[in-house]
């Protein structure tokens, strides 16, 4: 199935793209993050990356569905 991935802030800069479509097996959002960490070592160092699934924050074992949009955020640094 196909999912759409969006990268934010420093991830966009280090990975060198703003978004991409990926063909993946059935998996959880958490597994997808592990997959992306393998694909892009620059994501690896951050323990607390945030994920949003279809524009809702997501930190659990939710399974991905075909056509989902997953946003990948670095640890926050606002304020």
């Amino acid at each position: 199935m196909k999912v759409h991935i969006k990268y934010y802030a420093k991830y966009r800069d280090t990975i060198g793209k703003r978004e991409e479509d990926l063909e993946v097996e059935e998996m959880t959002v958490k597994s997808l993050l592990d997959l992306l960490r393998g694909k892009y070592p620059s994501l690896g160092g951050d323990k607390t990356s945030l994920l949003a699934l279809n524009n809702k924050f997501q930190r659990d074992e939710t399974k991905l569905s075909d056509g989902d949009t997953v946003s990948v955020f670095p640890p926050v640094s606002g304020g």
Binding site: K10, N55, F57, S71, F73, P74, V76, S77, G78, G79
Partner: protein, 133 residues
Amino acid sequence: MKGTIQTDPIDASAILRTRNLEIGSSVVFEGIVRKTESTKELAHLFYESDEKLAEEELNKILKEAHTKFNLIDAFAVHRVGVVEPGEVSLLVAVYSSHRREAFEACSYIVEAIKSGLPIWKKDHFADGSESWH
């Protein structure tokens, strides 16, 4: 009670005008962009955000604090985009009957914003270099 993400400068006087006569204490925090970051002179900060997500999270934080500390009211505004040294990037205002709750709630909201709000900060230094936080 309202959390706002905005590119416009923060007009504190407009936010702080809201009052009712059971308020005994207000505590207002302002986070201000400093001229120096990691010993280097800053030109400005750039805050990136998913604004819809961030505003949703910000209002969730305010609602939690409202219940937890039995507040009368609470407001928070976080700027995104370019923010210059000396400008306020974050304002949190808390209104309570009692001072202890006001201090605790304001500090709680600020920490929750710092650790959980999807906003990212990039330093633009005076020497032209840049660095994400």
